[in-house]
């Protein structure tokens, strides 16, 4: 019997289990997946929780329900990987051997990495919306908030879904407008980037949109510490930004088990081959999703494109044939912009997000880098697509390789 071990049963781990289990001969292969919780959260839904758009129960499902028959789910924490011995040590020190390993342990926030962020005020005047608990506490707080200076601050790149801080601000603008207190709220983005987004064209277009919605941007801000008493952010160059309400996107890092395994970089991400998705220097370990160190966005759509590449490569690699598929960094993100509208960006390692139509030139139905209600419906539909298409490992009518069709250079 050969063992395929998948670490992490989130977006990527679940997708790979659903793709591989049906095609691997059950008499030859045992597929096992390890995760420390029973609940699978639809993370893009966290964005809507603070504004009452979703409640937590709307965006969580039992992990098991999305795994195919025959795949064994082990609910346990992972302590570390011993790659030279082809085994994984669990939290209770029990051992799972493997022939092939897929690392899909994702990324999570680490507020403790920033001085002064986690203290008595964490969850009172300072919040995150990247965890179920954080999003829920923020929802409770916002309901009673009568206005003041709201600062959204991604601390350090890369973060999961790099447009989420912008979407949060767009939705906040709509939320406070609908509550009739928009004039009492000052909305601010304080970012380490030089503009609204990482890539030039999108940065300019999204920057204009922020301006039109009266959202102030403080670029190039490197946060050194948070002073909760004085309610201010202090930069490494001693510049200060005050707040009444801080919505932080703390440093995102790969799981500590990666660091303990000696496989992580300075943020516990695994060095991964950009094209094949094999872990660098390891012949029987693949990496997918937020756990990789790849220069592509950390997003569910990216996981989907990667899963097709990994699937093809895995099946050839186990038979010692050359790996045929090459990941091109394809990313596709809906950006919620408030008032029933949204934008869409589509890009890869080489090509930055450009305006145009998607997926069909001149037809759409989605518009790239331009607000439309169709894009908003795309975003809302994404929750259904996530549970019913993506996790199941089914195909979308969008190729894993990015297409230039419909894009205007």
């Amino acid at each position: 019997m050969k063992h395929l071990l998948i670490l992490g049963g989130g977006t990527a781990g679940t997708m790979m289990a659903n793709k591989l289990a049906p095609v691997l001969n059950a008499r030859e292969w045992q597929v096992t997946i390890v995760d420390n919780t029973e609940e699978h959260y639809y993370q893009p839904g966290f964005l809507f929780v603070p504004f009452g758009g979703y409640r937590l129960q709307d965006i969580v499902k039992p992990r098991r329900q999305y795994l195919p028959a025959g795949v064994k789910l082990v609910v346990s924490s992972i302590d570390h990987i011993e790659a030279d011995k082809n085994k994984v040590v669990l939290g209770d020190q029990s051992i799972l051997p493997y022939d092939y390993l897929i690392i899909a342990t994702g990324a999570d926030i680490h507020p403790e990495q920033t001085e002064g962020l986690v203290d008595d005020e964490w969850g009172k005047t300072k919040f995150d919306f990247y965890t179920p608990r954080g999003a829920e506490l923020l929802a409770q707080f916002l309901k009673g908030w009568q206005g003041g200076k709201l600062v959204v601050n991604p601390i350090e790149m890369p973060i999961k879904c790099p447009v989420a801080p912008l979407e949060f601000l767009f939705l906040a603008d709509a939320y406070f407008t609908e509550r009739g207190i928009r004039d009492k709220v000052e909305l601010n983005l304080v970012t380490p980037l030089s503009g609204a987004f990482t890539k030039p064209k999108a940065s300019q277009i999204l920057g204009d949109l922020l301006g039109r919605k009266r959202i102030n941007v403080t670029p190039d801000f490197g946060l050194a510490r948070v002073d909760s008493k004085e309610k201010k952010l202090v930069g490494w160059d001693d510049t200060e930004v005050g707040y009444d309400l801080l919505v932080s996107v703390p440093t995102n890092m790969g799981d500590p088990c990666i660091g303990r395994s000696g496989l992580g970089d300075e943020l516990n991400y695994v060095a991964t081959d950009k094209q094949t998705l094999l872990a660098k220097g390891l012949e029987n370990v693949f990496v997918i999703g937020d756990a990789t160190n790849l220069p592509s966005s950390k997003a569910g759509s990216v996981v989907h494109f990667q899963s097709e590449i990994l699937f093809e490569n895995f099946l050839e690699h186990i038979d010692k044939r050359p790996m045929p598929a090459r990941f091109d960094g394809h990313t596709n993100c809906f950006i919620e912009s408030g008032f029933g509208k949204g934008l869409l960006i589509d890009f890869n390692y080489e090509t930055e997000p450009l305006p145009g139509e998607f997926p069909l030139p001149g037809v759409g139905p989605f518009s790239l880098l331009q607000e439309s209600s169709m894009n908003h419906y795309g975003k809302l539909m994404f929750r259904w697509v996530y549970w019913n298409v993506l996790l199941r490992g089914l195909e979308l009518p969008i190729g894993s390789a990015m297409s230039m069709a419909g894009k205007r250079v």
Binding site: M157, P158, D237, E266, L267, S297
Partner: protein
Amino acid sequence: MATVTILGKELAVDADGNLANLSDWNEDIAREMAAQDGIPNLTSQHWAILNYMRKVFEKEGSAPSIRRLTKESGVDTKTLYQLFPKGPAKRAAKIAGLPKPVGCI
């Protein structure tokens, strides 16, 4: 592809305005780019960072993040911000003739 003129030479740059060709770079060009970017004087501390970044890039194909700079160059974050104000990793990468660090994506 866009170009910039530095010391009378026309050099290709990428979408971020960083040099497109590693081989176009030399120390005089670095000094000139730094001066244009508001850093009139490159000290030995600046050079230590720039050389370290080029070394990492040669080996790994991407410029290091600020977190890695702090961890491995022996210079703390505060000092990095004094040397290259506003965004040490991306500014140092630019002056070192490298593309923007991937962490910035």
